[in-house]
């Protein structure tokens, strides 16, 4: 392992352009590894097939022996977050996978009483809303609906059906309900703020291109905690050191998949070489777009984004902030050279002002 692996690519001499942000095709090589290092690996989390089972959370907790905590990171506490089905609440020192549950509803316009007529056969399917729901279902159960829905449910994976029967949507009275579920994880950024600011070298880039904390080095300074633009890494209360997802570094070195991806029953969490995952994600997005799911978008896939692309990226069905993700994260170190220059100016100002007071006539 190179002695440079805990330094930013800008300072290893391997990066001719001395960049602190932007795309970096070979982040592992830039970190100082020999040319025969393994390919960069990553996660592609396809939230469109996440069922919210939390198998990833459990597998992660078990494999990494993470302690229990509540939604605010309090150790050995059990509590309800009071929101949705999510009592994990956030990524932190003790939760390296976090399944977000977003419960959304929207109103369905009901017909005015007395104006609406029972739906004629053949129109049922035309007026049905969501999963088994009908625009007139409150007063006039439409027979056509049951059949139509059954057909839709049987063929949910076909493009026609996905748009007319949305498995994440259900109707209740005058409202439609849908769930967005997403398993969040450390992004293992190309330009990782946590790694850049770590003063001890406890955080380092592995040969797989991931970012890992060495817990025998970390002295709990906590600088990485506010430096992460996603709010992933955190200090463990009662321990003092920081912890985050290692992408199961121990399993990777033994040729195994990370625990969460292994446990995921729907292949919502896919593990593999990052370039393969990116190609797969692009294809999946194209399929969904073709099927009319125009809200689908990839998050963290773009290598021109503020962190140079993420090692763990996502397919989302709504805006990132709805899932608790920042819409346009930027590695804080991008602006550091400018800050250092201003700090140098400010330090010179201090010395100049302090010394100039001694000039001139005594007293």
């Amino acid at each position: 392992m190179s002695q440079f692996s805990s330094a930013s690519p800008a300072f290893t001499g391997h990066d001719p352009e001395n960049r602190l942000y932007g795309p970096l095709p070979d982040v592992t090589g830039e970190a100082g590894y020999e040319a025969d290092h393994p390919a960069r690996v990553g996660f592609f989390t396809d939230t469109s097939v996440c069922i919210g089972c939390k198998a990833c959370e459990v597998a992660c907790k078990e494999w990494n022996t993470l302690p229990m905590d509540d939604a605010d990171g309090n150790r050995d506490a059990l509590g309800l977050s009071g929101m949705s089905y999510d009592n994990t609440g956030m990524l932190g020192a003790n939760s390296w996978r976090h399944v977000a549950f977003v419960e959304q509803s929207r109103s369905v316009d009901l017909p005015m009483p007395g104006i609406g007529l029972p739906a004629a056969p053949g129109q049922g399917a035309g007026s049905g809303g969501g999963c088994g729901g009908s625009r007139g279902s409150a007063e006039t159960p439409a027979h056509g609906d049951a059949d139509g829905t059954t057909i839709d449910q049987h063929s949910v994976l076909n493009a026609q059906a996905l748009s007319s029967f949305d498995p994440q949507t259900a109707q209740s009275a005058d409202r439609e309900i849908r769930w967005l579920m997403s398993s969040d994880v450390c992004k293992h950024c190309t330009h990782a703020g946590c790694l850049d600011v770590c003063p001890t070298g406890a955080l380092f880039r592995t040969e797989f291109g991931t970012v890992v904390v060495q817990d025998d080095i970390c002295n709990g300074c906590g600088y990485c905690v506010p430096a992460c633009p996603y709010g992933v890494i955190d200090q463990r209360k009662g321990d003092g050191r920081v912890f985050k997802c290692t992408m199961c570094y121990d399993r990777l070195t033994d040729g195994l998949q990370p625990a969460c991806a292994t446990a995921c029953p729907t292949q919502s969490i896919q593990f593999g070489d990052l370039d393969e995952l990116q190609a797969r994600a692009d294809a999946r997005l194209a399929t969904l777009t073709e099927q009319g799911v125009t809200t689908a978008r990839l998050y963290g896939r773009d290598t021109d984004d503020g962190v140079g692309g993420a090692g763990a990226f996502f397919l989302l069905l709504d805006e990132p902030e709805v899932y608790g993700l920042p819409p346009d994260p930027v590695v804080t170190t991008r602006d550091l050279p400018s800050m250092w220059r201003h700090a140098a100016g400010a330090a010179a100002m201090l010395v100049g002002v302090a010394l100039s007071g001694f000039l001139g006539r005594r007293r």
Partner: protein, 404 residues
């Protein structure tokens, strides 16, 4: 979002009109204002696959979805408290509309303890400027000022080290700070500033004390030793006062990161005001003139830079005005301004120097606490993360649209 603003029921239930009416409500559901801004053609949303109003579901951008039963997307709870703002015409940042995951914070708040870290920021600034004053006083025949400045610099630096180590999650591992050097980590750079600074200023302070102790061997009392230590410490004085600003700014905490180019001037100005003020207060007035001047100029720099921090950054400037941080910073400004005026007008008298020096030091300390608090508050509210980033995305999209 996608509902009819006026709540008019759609005429879809008239059997005769159905054929003609259908497309209209369908568009009403699908063609939300969001669609218009996202530039997607209406047809792409659900036609030809979906012919039923109300079923566009996942296929519709926006589509009228909002978080079930939570607070609506608009901020209802953010009510501005009367008197929560300054009287000096602070910009009124309009309540922004944004989405979040159940209002939970996105970036993590710093785990640094208070008062440890704000006090560290204050002492580092005061010690840094005092070290420069002390070294210069050694060579301009101001022994009393040199003595005071050495003691403040050394005492402040040693206390800083104590606070910094106490703040670590694993204090026994504080030496791990020195196992690598990383310019990308202000804390690493700061460790290499603080270590020699505290050692040298601590030595200068110890040698200053040793002068009056009878049991100390004579060679230790040699003035050149003290002067060397003092000058060595002064070299690191400016960086010591300035780097702590970068320490805060180089985070994802919105209200620390955005003003990252101005905070160094706030911190060094504040350091000059505190160091000059303290030196002035504990030095006979006939030797304290350089400290007085430094304090007055420093206070002016602090106030000017802080004004920019508080007004130049849109919504991210808001935490500096509201809540505990706003209160602290208003008191800090009053203390600093009063102290600066006092030092300029009454600094030539002993009691005036003591009073205005104390005010300047208090103003500096409160500024650090206020800036620290404002950052913590900005990390806790997703608004300060989402809204600026959304604006950034919108600006980029607009730029691309105009060029492409």
């Amino acid at each position: 979002m996608a509902r009819h603003a006026d709540g008019t029921p759609e005429p879809v239930d008239h059997p005769h009109g159905r054929g003609e009416q259908l497309p209209a409500p369908e568009l009403d559901h699908g063609a939300t204002p969001e669609m218009g801004t996202s530039g997607r053609p209406h047809e792409a949303v659900d036609a030809p696959l979906d012919h039923r109003p109300g079923t566009s579901g996942v296929a519709t951008p926006g589509g009228g979805w909002r978080r079930a039963d939570g607070p609506s997307l608009k901020r209802e709870r953010r009510k501005r408290k009367g008197g929560g703002r300054g009287r000096d015409g602070d910009p009124t940042v309009e309540d922004a509309e944004f989405q979040s995951y159940y209002g939970r914070q996105i970036v993590k708040s710093a785990v640094w303890k208070t008062p440890d870290v704000p006090l560290y920021l204050f002492l580092g600034g005061a010690a840094g400027s005092s070290a420069v004053l002390g070294a210069a006083a050694e060579f301009t025949d101001r022994p009393a000022l040199a003595r005071t400045a050495h003691l403040i610099a050394g005492g402040g630096a040693i206390a800083s080290v104590g606070f910094l180590i106490h703040d670590l999650g694993r204090p026994e591992r504080f030496l791990h700070m020195l196992r690598v050097f990383k310019p990308t980590s202000p804390l690493s750079v700061g460790s290499y500033i603080l270590s020699p600074f505290s050692a040298l200023t601590g030595a200068a302070a110890a040698l200053t004390i040793a002068e009056n102790l009878s049991w100390v061997p004579g060679w230790v009392k040699a003035p050149w030793l003290r002067k060397t230590a003092g000058v060595g410490g002064a070299v690191f004085g400016g960086p010591m006062a300035a780097y702590t600003a970068v320490l805060l700014a180089n985070t994802a905490t919105p209200s620390w990161h955005e003003p990252g180019n101005q905070l160094p001037f706030v911190f060094t100005g504040s350091g000059l005001a505190a160091g000059g003020g303290l030196c002035m207060a504990f030095t006979p007035v006939d030797q304290a003139s350089p400290a007085r001047k430094a304090a007055v100029v420093g206070a002016a720099v602090e106030l000017a830079a802080m004004h920019k921090v508080e007004h130049d950054h849109g919504i991210v400037s808001e935490p500096f005005h509201i809540g505990r941080a706003g209160k602290l910073l208003r008191i800090a400004k009053a203390c600093t301004a009063a102290g600066a005026v006092g030092a300029a007008v009454l600094g030539g008298r002993r009691w005036g120097a003591v009073a205005s020096g104390a005010l300047l030091a208090a103003g500096s300390a409160l500024t650090r606490f206020g800036v620290f608090d404002a950052g913590m508050a900005s990390s806790k509210d997703p608004k300060y993360v989402v809204v600026p980033q959304r604006e950034r995305l919108a600006a980029r999209a607009a730029a691309e649209a105009s060029t492409g």
